[in-house]
């Protein structure tokens, strides 16, 4: 009866019940301790021999084996990133009494340069206590032999066969591939957050940028481990067992390495970017940002002078301009404006305007590039001759909201989601954007005058080359948009199974086919009889294009003669294109920083790229500037 819960009657029964519970608790304690004691007897008496052996074996240490990193191949199977094995000379600082003295003695045996020492000391600061750290990499066979003969003089020093990452094409596609480098504190946090800590125990390199970073956990593979018997001093005596690591998965890209190489050559020493896409899949055929850099420099820790050179160069080679440069699209914006006008019913193809060479709005004069104007201009002519006045008026008639609403779904002003980290967003201007962008209420208001220059791709407009390429692709593919991507498929190294990346379209834009066809026709006209005609003279295929110039420097009424301006003040040159016109296999956007007119320096690069991709023609050298009359762009 004492278990039943009743309100308290007397102090005595309450106390009895309480004491009973204490007794109960005491028996639980005794039982639990008996369980523990039983466990100890089991472990320490019954299983003692087994565990003694295991403890002896624990001279057996579990040494993780880093897996082979996956290989990166281009669309035709050309190797772009691979591994090779080389001997390194490594020191385990915890086992060496006098590091500097040991290094000095080693230096008499094997060449150790000052830069090697500097790198070693840098590694030493970042390392864990029992790690062995390389002081020399890529030993020659002779050096290995020389050390082996003297090894007994150097406790704590070892020659190890290690795998190194290599980018056989050198600087080609450096921004796409990225590079690997030693794991640092921030990387460790990422590894831990991804629950990969035990898998990375034997790994000391990790992808830092580009595909190497984005696909790190695909490329890395699964660590294996080796059971090694060590003597009391910690020296390895023999191997007991080995669980082989599983190599990382291989990436096969949509990229064409040869096309990439030719494109990079076509840029010569120009700074800029090009993104070429297969419109029917979104697969990126070439993604170039110049200047490039050699990712091989990073693999075993970049030397500080190399790093300074790359990092402090005014040309900023480490920036991936294709994803991180946001530029006004200039006149390459016009075909999209024209399509918007057709779709929204703001213009018909046949409607003409009369172009006096300028457009006045609210007391401000917006100039056309051609003095005296283009005369009577319909939509076709407006694109072929790149008439600014036509688009000043159109922008004014459409209004900023309509423009923003049409360009948004094209992907302009938003990250494309390409499979490389750190893409910029760009700017699709709209009153809402301005409100977000500026804190000062006076700056937040959208002025109608600002809409005018948006029409010709100037003003706040700023898009990355990959966004432009995606937009041209969408046009070329009749409104079906794919996410631009670099990896075509991932091959599982164990099963050989292939996983496709992005085979499905993102969305289909509801454009009328006749409108699309008209814009394409006008863009074909650009390359036949318009601003792109010189660059595409004698082409064996029909292509569509549009030149563009992003103004950096406004000339108040004065004549613009690019050659007379300092190079860094010259405008950026742009060109968008697709080919063949009837069934596009390639769509691209080119940007040349400070290249002047689009027709002059960007279009010839596009020509070379398309010539190679469609016809297999390899150019002799970098693209030459085409002399064009300035008014045409």
């Amino acid at each position: 009866m004492r278990y039943r819960h009743t309100p308290l009657h007397t102090q005595d029964t309450e106390l009895d019940r309480f004491r009973f519970r204490i007794g109960f608790a005491a028996s639980v304690v005794v039982l639990a301790f008996a369980l523990l004691a039983g466990r100890f007897v089991y472990l320490q008496i019954i299983q003692h021999d087994y565990y003694t052996t295991r403890a002896e074996d624990n001279r057996i240490s579990l040494v993780p084996i880093a897996p082979n990193r996956g290989v990166i191949l281009d669309r035709h199977g050309t190797i772009m990133a691979r591994n090779y094995s080389a001997f390194t000379l490594e020191l385990t600082p915890s086992k060496i009494a006098n590091l500097d003295e040991t290094i000095d003695r080693l230096g008499q045996l094997i060449e150790i340069q000052a830069k090697d020492k500097r790198r070693f000391h840098k590694l030493l600061e970042e390392s864990k206590l029992f790690e062995s750290l390389p002081i020399r990499t890529r030993l020659s066979d002779e050096e290995v032999a020389r050390f082996a003969a003297n090894r007994y003089l150097f406790p704590g020093v070892e020659v190890q066969a290690r795998l190194f990452r290599q980018y056989p094409l050198g600087a080609v596609a450096s921004h796409v591939l990225g590079y690997i480098n030693r794991i640092n504190k921030a990387d460790l946090d990422v590894i831990e957050a991804s629950d990969q800590s035990s898998n990375y125990k034997g790994t000391d390199h990790i992808g830092k940028t580009g595909l190497e970073q984005k696909y790190e956990f695909q490329l890395h593979g699964e660590a294996g481990y080796e059971e090694i018997e060590i003597d009391a001093g910690g020296q390895a005596v023999r191997n007991i067992s080995r669980t082989a690591p599983v190599s990382g998965n291989n990436l096969t890209l949509t990229l064409d390495a040869k096309l990439q190489e030719i494109t990079e050559k076509a840029f010569g020493d120009r700074r800029g970017a090009l993104v070429a896409i297969d419109p029917s899949t979104g697969g990126i055929l070439a993604m170039v940002s110049t200047p490039t850099f050699d990712p091989n420099l990073f693999v075993d820790g970049i030397r500080s002078d190399d790093w300074d050179l790359l990092n402090n160069s005014p040309d900023r080679p480490m920036v991936n301009r294709a994803l991180n440069g946001a530029y006004p699209p200039g006149s390459t914006f016009k075909p999209f404006m024209a399509l918007a006008a057709l779709e929204l019913g703001k213009r018909t193809p046949g409607q003409t305007i009369s172009d006096p060479g300028f457009f006045t709005f609210g007391g401000h004069t917006f100039r056309d590039d051609k003095k005296g104007g283009h005369g009577l201009v319909d939509m076709y002519k407006s694109i072929v001759q790149s008439c600014d006045t036509y688009y000043y008026m159109l922008a004014n008639d459409m209004g900023i909201d309509n423009i923003a609403r049409f360009m948004g779904p094209l992907g302009l002003g938003q990250r494309t989601g390409v499979d490389i980290e750190g893409e910029s967003e760009g700017v699709l201007p709209s009153p809402e954007w301005k409100k977000r962008r500026f804190k000062n209420p006076a700056q937040q208001k959208w002025f109608a005058g600002e809409t005018i220059s948006i029409g010709i791709g100037q003003g706040y407009n700023a898009y990355t080359p990959i966004q432009l390429a995606q937009a041209v692709s969408a046009l070329a593919n009749n409104g079906v948009i794919y996410r631009p991507h670099l990896v075509n498929y991932i091959t599982n190294s164990k099963t050989g199974e292939k996983t496709l990346i992005e085979p499905e379209p993102l969305r289909t834009l509801p454009w009328k086919q006749q409108n699309i066809d008209f814009i394409k026709k006008a863009m074909v006209g650009v390359n036949k009889e318009g601003t792109g005609a010189r660059a595409f003279a004698g082409a064996e295929y029909e292509s569509g294009g549009k030149t563009g110039t992003a103004q950096l420097f406004s000339l108040k009424g004065a004549d613009y003669k690019s050659g007379k301006l300092k190079q860094e003040l010259r405008d950026h040159a742009l060109f968008i294109a697709f080919a063949p016109a009837d069934h596009p296999k390639i769509a691209l956007a080119v940007l040349v920083e400070n290249g002047g007119f689009g027709a002059q320096s960007a279009a010839p690069i596009a020509r070379m790229v398309i010539d190679y991709y469609l016809l297999g023609k390899s150019p002799a050298g970098p693209a030459q500037d085409v002399e064009t009359p300035s008014e045409e762009d």
């Binding site: 204490i22 523990l36 100890f40 320490q44 003692h48 910690g234």
Partner: protein, 368 residues
């Protein structure tokens, strides 16, 4: 004259101290120091700093023992409220260490609010039951359950499963000693059993992994299974009499992780063997037995349920820690009382000890 003051001082010093509890604890601490020394002397010796921690703890214990339970009762609500508020603050401005948000920055230092709840929880619930002693109804148990679950949930979410278990257990013991009906207890056991599959889905990945590796540690020999494999090897290879102090190969070849904190029992067990383990178990049993005796003789409901909860908390520490180190319970962060290295946890334990002593010393309502 001087003699007289010395005499008075000595009396004051030991007046509220419980001899048996102190002696048992001192022996445990001596074992602890020796083991910490063995675990750390070849790298970064922690024995001296643990000695300092013990000094601070003893002073704290003495101070708490001076306060009669009626005074302790006054701390219950404020301590609990402050603790819970700090737990909530941990979510807002807490510092993340190793993926868990447990620490609260206080400018000059940082604290683990969960530690406060180890004392505040039983204190609060004991106060609550004491307050409604005469009118105890079902709903009081429900409210008590709620008071228990809020901090428990907050701590478990940090995540800090080990501390959550200790705080939750301490609260539950109070409710148990306050007379929670048996049918409810049985019902809870049945419910817990049937809820296990659901609990599985809300556990963190790392917690699930620990349970899985408990069943088969070899599935992840480089990762979370490593702790269990290595500590069972240490215990098993210790045999009947151990390898001797400073002679444990598992310890000194650095196979045992956390060897001066949560896994110190593996070090002890390897070097002292089954004999040492048995002595240790007996010492803890004596500690718990003494605690239960004090509890049984306590004069008020407050003192009884508080004393019972604290005593059983010691048991929980010991059982969970030894259980995990010997591979029959999943790995959670619970130290071995008076053995593991660590200042905060030690001070908390000493304060708990001080409360027990206070209950014992003030058991007579009217002073002699």
């Amino acid at each position: 004259m001087f003699q007289h003051y010395l005499q008075r001082f000595r009396e004051r010093l030991v007046e509220h101290i419980d001899g048996p509890l102190l002696v048992i604890t001192l022996i445990l601490m001596a074992f602890g120091l020796a083991t910490i020394f063995s675990a750390t002397y070849d790298a970064n010796n922690r024995a001296v700093s643990q000695l300092l921690n013990m000094g601070v703890g003893l002073v704290g214990m003495w101070a708490v023992a001076q306060l009669p339970p009626q005074k302790l009762m006054r701390f219950a609500v404020p301590l609990y409220v402050v603790g819970v508020i700090m737990l909530i603050l941990v979510y807002v401005i807490g510092i993340k260490v190793n993926g868990a948000r447990r620490w609260l920055p206080l400018g000059f230092t940082r604290v683990q609010p969960a530690e406060i709840l180890k004392i505040a929880m039983p204190l609060m619930l004991a106060w609550y039951f004491h307050k409604y002693e005469a009118v105890l109804r079902w709903r009081h148990y429900l409210v008590a359950g709620l008071l228990l679950l809020v901090p428990f949930g907050l701590i478990a979410k940090q995540p800090d499963l080990g501390t959550a278990i200790l705080v939750g257990a301490a609260g539950f013991y109070v409710i148990f000693f306050a007379g929670l009906p048996w049918k409810v207890i049985v019902g809870m056991v049945v419910a817990a059993g049937s809820a296990a599959p659901f609990v599985w889905t809300v556990l963190h990945d790392y917690q699930r992994k620990r349970i899985l590796t408990l069943i088969d540690p070899t599935t992840d020999p480089l990762g979370s299974g490593y702790h269990i494999i290595q500590s069972t090897i240490a215990i098993g290879s210790g045999g009947a009499f151990g390898k001797g102090w400073l002679m444990g190969t598992q310890t000194h070849l650095e196979f045992i992780p956390e060897r001066h904190t949560d896994f110190i029992f593996a070090v002890f067990s390897e070097e002292r063997g089954l004999l040492g383990n048995s002595i240790l178990l007996v010492l803890y049993l004596m500690l718990i037995a003494r605690g239960l005796m004090i509890t049984a003789n306590a004069s008020t409901l407050f003192a009884r349920v508080l004393g019972g909860s604290i005593t059983l908390s010691f048991f929980t520490y010991v059982f969970v820690n030894m259980g995990m180190v010997s591979g029959i319970l999943p790995v959670v962060g619970v130290p071995l009382p008076f053995m593991s290295y660590g200042g905060t946890a030690l001070v908390t334990l000493f304060i708990a000890l001080g409360i027990l002593m206070s209950i014992q010393s003030h058991r007579m309502l009217v002073k002699k």
